[in-house]
Symmetry: C2
């Protein structure tokens, strides 16, 4: 197991100590203080090679994303990220300095902007690269934004463009039911697309600002249609969305409408926020933070998700993001 002790050295002083950490990596458990008047927010997401990322993905990008998707979950509650614990299972062929250094750097790049500390980890050998990250954060007592608060009349908003990560994935795979290998390397993508797929930015600052404004929130990991659907189900309401109001990009606009909408509604992995708030709050929020959220529709009493374009109902099946 000496190679695994070696890995440990890459991770031990990777991130700066957080003021709330009493004891970090190196004992059986980490010990942390919780800020006053705060609640703990926690989540776990697992990434498996060939399913959540193509095998050709760099260790740096894999590590970055395994953290970012979890920080995005914290952001969607309005929480302030605090720390991560990483369960890393990797093939012996990857238990070397090159892989581990790049992986550790990817973790650090994801953690550092948010002051997140790596406080715990477990590294094991496995036939398949698997990364399970638990993220911990804090939220002011009783202020977390959940999926349950959407009210009829609320404006439905997203934080930015959705669909680019899906477009990127389709750009490197010819068949989403393939073997997890890319037909073209991620590096062959236009930079904007590669960034969208490999280095999504968790909307942490925005999520925190939305406390006191948003009635409900979720991050868009499985596709806007499905994720907004979770808000609708949890809140017992419906929504009407104007497809043309969804923030887009020239690369998406260049596609036929049906394809563009597929990426925007059913494509996952964008990690933008989807949220709802009253019209009054929407106006106030936009005055304080212009161009940081974009109205795409409205919460209605009638259940289900209705997609509209040019005053016409669009018939598009909302389906989950089935990882290839």
């Amino acid at each position: 197991m000496s190679e695994f002790s070696l890995i440990h050295t890459h991770f031990k002083h990777l991130t700066a100590p957080h003021q709330h950490t009493v004891l970090g990596i190196g004992d059986d458990c980490a010990i942390s203080n919780i800020p006053p008047n705060s609640q703990l927010v926690s989540c776990v997401d697992t990434l498996v090679a060939g399913r959540h990322f193509v095998h050709e993905t760099s260790p740096h990008a894999i590590a970055y994303k395994s953290v970012a998707v979890n920080l995005s979950d914290l952001a969607s509650m309005g929480a302030t990220p605090y720390a991560i614990l990483v369960g890393l299972s990797l093939p012996k062929s990857m238990a070397n300095d090159d892989f581990c250094q790049a992986f550790a750097e990817g973790l650090a790049v994801a953690c550092t902007p948010f002051g997140v500390e790596l406080i715990g980890g477990d590294t094991t050998s496995s036939p398949i690269l698997t990364i399970s990250v638990t993220a911990l954060g804090f939220v002011p007592h009783g202020q977390a934004i959940t999926r349950q608060g959407a009210c009829v009349g609320d404006v439905v908003c997203v934080s930015d463009t959705v669909g680019l990560a899906s477009l990127a994935l389709h750009g490197i795979l010819d068949d989403l039911n393939g073997d997890g290998h890319a037909n073209r390397p991620p590096e062959s993508l236009p930079e904007k697309l590669r960034q969208a797929m490999q280095y999504p930015a968790p909307q942490v600052a925005l999520g925190k600002r939305l406390i006191g404004f948003a009635n409900s929130m979720i991050d868009i990991s499985d596709g806007l249609g499905q994720d907004l659907g979770h808000i609708l189900t949890a809140s017992n309401v419906g929504a009407v969305i104007e497809l043309d109001a969804i923030p887009s990009h020239a690369l998406l606009d260049a596609l036929p409408h049906a394809q563009k909408w597929q990426h925007q509604i059913n494509g996952g992995d964008d990690y933008q926020l989807c949220l709802t708030m009253t019209k009054q709050n929407f106006k106030k929020f936009n005055q304080s933070y212009p161009n940081s959220i974009f109205a795409i529709g409205e919460i209605v009493a009638q259940k289900g998700l209705t997609l509209m374009n040019d005053h016409q109902k669009v018939d598009l099946t909302v389906q989950g993001w089935a990882h290839f």
Copy 2:
């Protein structure tokens, strides 16, 4: 992904809601209150099929142990377990009701005695069964017992017999460097051995009682020799251990000395506690809780671990528990 939604239904109401949980499974994150004057204690452990358990292990036993090893880490700090988050990656062949129900029951059997709630999870498809569990607990502010406090003159103690789990593993495998398959099914073992290997009991109640008594503590997951070694290194001291003082069992006593000691010093997976405390505290603790900890040696100034038998130094190489 419909089979994975199905799995979710097995886990959603598996454990009773904990009084400190504000929001459990079903949103992007869980939300928890922290008890007053407490610190958060957290850890993660990952189990991979064929490495941490033989492929022939029942889903019930796999799930139980994936939780128990983490609760044991909490116990070794003196913490009170609160909740777990489970990252479960499983082959499609296991994504069925039979597997998932047995797995869920195993989780529940491990959680329920300690009032632990499953507050978060992520289920993904993977070629190899991998379970990454994060455990959260609470400890009274500043009272956690770490590896760092061992003092010269401290009594070294263990909570009970060590070596049985190792003996069990050797009983079903002919070669520890094999393919992760058992040569004999776990069910062929004597019940005492199978329980030791598959259903270790985390020493949670004892760990909590040791607050205010123990100077240092660790749980024995990788072998008494290596784990006590972590205390010695962290505390910058050494220890002399009397091999005959280590709590044993007839099945171990039946072996030649050298084999018995190998299991007791280098065999892992027992999840008993190893701790140190002053002689005065040892006397007091034994009066309050007789027969719950057993003195096996003493902390000394000279670095390293010395093993003694019948006034003679025993030459036995302490090595880590290399998972087969």
